[in-house]
């Protein structure tokens, strides 16, 4: 008895211990499994999105082939579809937004890293990022009721009078709903993205380099021009591509202010349409299966453009950027 008790207890202890070890081993594997599953779900989502969009577009792909991308007819009643006009509208609005937004955003990034005192930086930085938090439908609604009338009454006549010799600044239209207004709204959306990424990039520039330049007598602008921008230029380009991706894919705000035109015109003050905005406007009331399939085809073009843009941005970011990574 006296000798049996400890051995029983030890055996039971060993049993409990091994049970616990088994549980631990099982639970460790299970936790790893669910974490891996979560990661796989994310990857599978992208593949599934691609599959569903291609599947939906397949009738239009087999009917129109690749010609869909550059054909400019869009007549739902006659079953004729081509995305040329939409691609044109998408390219013009996004390019214009980037042309206007990128310099402003980079300037804001420089202001936040080099000029602003700590207190100002802590207030202005988050405020600029808040600009990205305003829902696109509200920005579009504001664009429709406030920005478009202002643009029509003041900006368009002014640009036409001063720069009217350029065909892009044609005579003002009656509503202010135009490619130009859409570009302005997109500019507002692009700025916070590029500004916050470029701020992070500029902060990563080694202070020794900047101090060295200053010690050699460089002015602040020469430090920026000679040190800050060259060390981060690839990252800034990646940031601009990300901003471009955002502008290309914006549907709601654009559809509210672009005026849903369907022709290619030189003047920015005419109405137009983009891929994303056409989907938002026509998908819910698509007339035929072919009409719907053509809208899927537009979504497919958008999907490809956005994937390529993000891949290029991350490639540039990883390959060249000083800090080694571009945050979104």
């Amino acid at each position: 008895m006296a000798t049996a008790a400890p051995t029983v207890r030890a055996a039971r202890g060993a049993q409990v211990g091994s049970l616990r070890r088994r549980l631990d081993r099982f639970a460790d594997r299970a936790l790893y499994g669910v974490c891996l599953l979560g990661a796989l779900i994310a990857g599978a989502t992208i593949i599934l999105v691609g599959y569903q969009v291609i599947h939906g577009a397949s009738p239009a792909i087999s009917k129109f082939g690749f010609g869909f991308v550059y054909e400019t007819v869009w007549q739902p009643n006659f079953g004729e579809f081509g995305a040329g006009t939409l691609l044109f509208g998408t390219a013009v609005t996004s390019a214009f937004a980037l042309l206007l937004g990128a310099p402003i955003a980079i300037a804001i990034g420089l202001f936040l890293t080099l000029l602003a005192p700590r207190g100002v930086r802590g207030v202005v930085g988050p405020l600029v990022e808040l600009l990205a938090a305003i829902p696109s439908v509200i920005l579009g609604f504001w664009g429709l009721l406030v920005l478009a009338p202002f643009v029509q009454a003041h900006v368009e006549p002014f640009l036409h009078d001063t720069l009217g010799f350029l065909p892009i600044f044609g005579p003002p239209e009656t509503t202010g709903l135009s490619i130009f207004t859409a570009s302005l709204v997109l500019t507002i959306m692009v700025i916070p993205i590029i500004a916050s990424i470029s701020r992070d990039l500029f902060q990563s520039v080694p202070p020794e380099l900047q101090d060295g330049a200053s010690a050699l007598g460089a002015t602040r602008w020469e430090v920026v021009r000679g040190i800050v921008l060259p060390t981060t230029s690839n990252g800034v380009v990646a940031a601009c591509i990300l901003g471009l991706g955002r502008a290309l894919g914006e549907a709601i705000a654009v559809s509210q202010v672009i005026g849903a035109g369907s022709s290619i015109q030189a003047s920015l003050f005419k109405s137009g349409d983009t891929l994303a905005s056409r989907i938002a406007l026509q998908f819910p009331g698509a007339l035929t299966e072919l009409h719907k399939a053509s809208l899927y085809y537009c979504a497919l073009i958008l999907l490809v453009i956005s994937l390529v843009a993000n891949l290029v941005a991350s490639w540039i970011g990883r390959r060249f950027s000083y800090s080694g990574a571009v945050n979104w």
Binding site: V53, F141, W221, A276, P284
Partner: protein, 292 residues
């Protein structure tokens, strides 16, 4: 010879010539950068001021709690339901991905996963709308659930990224102490690492919700044909929701509808601003606490 070394005491102390030009250029660049920042803040102020001044006239208790045509209660309720369901889907998966990134993945896994999250984050929301339409709505009927799935995909990379940042800040000492006591990996993850990071994970989630709550494009395809009078929380039918209703009213061009849309915009914007500013402040605090 020696008097050349003595500077002319009557020379002006202000720079001249080339140096003066360089300093002017620098000054101009500084002013431009400051002006750009002021312009961005001004746009934000103008948008928020317009929404606030036009929206505040419409908002009263009836507006918030009754249905169409006197109020927008069903839309508010629907938006809450859609956001909650989306978060219930996205948060567990997002946290699991963050755990995968911080606890299990090797360098290659981390790179691949980050790329996948970047790509997800870059998908245009209208494409996600088309996707959930094809997957869940086509040949069936619209449902708030389909909208929630799209919003969940929007939230997922934000939650995963935010949680990962917080998990990385959990002090190494805690992990090592746990390992030294012979605690199994899963126990230290569930009882030490996650609880330490919980505050940060929740605030990252709130930021993601604030980003997704105003998304309109997917909901136009997933949950846009609804009865604006009916209060409902059933996610398997099309629910009235704020973004789509604002969009519809803005397309209709009726002045009374515009007032209603401004009122809803104010409610939505104030939720988003308070949620993101509050979450940001909390996140900064919990990051400071973790890293000190």
């Amino acid at each position: 010879m020696s008097d050349q070394l003595i500077p002319d005491p009557s020379a002006p102390l202000t720079p001249s010539g080339n140096l003066r030009r360089r300093q002017l250029v620098s000054r101009a660049a500084e002013l431009t950068a400051t002006a750009a920042a002021i312009a961005a803040i001004a746009v934000l102020a103008i948008v928020i001021w317009t929404v606030a001044s036009r929206g505040v006239k419409t908002i009263d208790l009836d507006f918030v709690f009754t249905g169409y045509p006197t109020g927008v209660g069903p839309m508010l309720l629907g938006t809450i339901v859609i956001s909650v369901v989306a978060t219930l889907i996205a948060m567990p998966i997002g946290v699991l991905i963050a755990l995968f990134l911080t606890e299990y993945a090797g360098a290659k896994g981390v790179r691949t996963m980050k790329l996948i999250l970047d790509l997800l984050n870059g998908l245009p929301s209208i494409v996600l709308g088309v996707f959930v339409f094809a997957l869940l709505v086509n040949h069936k009927h619209q449902s708030a659930f389909a909208g929630s799935v799209a919003l969940a995909i929007i939230e997922l990379p934000l939650i995963a990224r935010g949680s990962q940042e917080v998990l990385l800040l959990v002090p190494k000492g805690l992990r090592e102490a746990s390992d030294a006591l012979g605690v199994a990996r899963w126990r230290s993850v569930l009882t030490v690492i996650l609880p330490t990071a919980l505050g940060g994970i929740v605030t990252a989630t709130v930021l993601a919700v604030a980003r997704a709550a105003g998304e309109t494009a997917p909901l136009i395809l997933a949950s846009s044909v609804f009865d604006p009078k009916k209060f409902s929380v059933n996610p398997f039918e099309a629910l009235p929701n704020v973004p789509v209703w604002i969009y519809k009213l803005s397309e209709e061009g009726n002045p009374e509808g515009f007032n209603e849309a401004w009122g809803m915009s104010l409610l939505l914007v104030s939720f988003i601003l308070f949620a993101s500013l509050g979450a940001r402040a909390l996140l900064a605090r919990s990051k400071r606490k973790l890293s000190s």
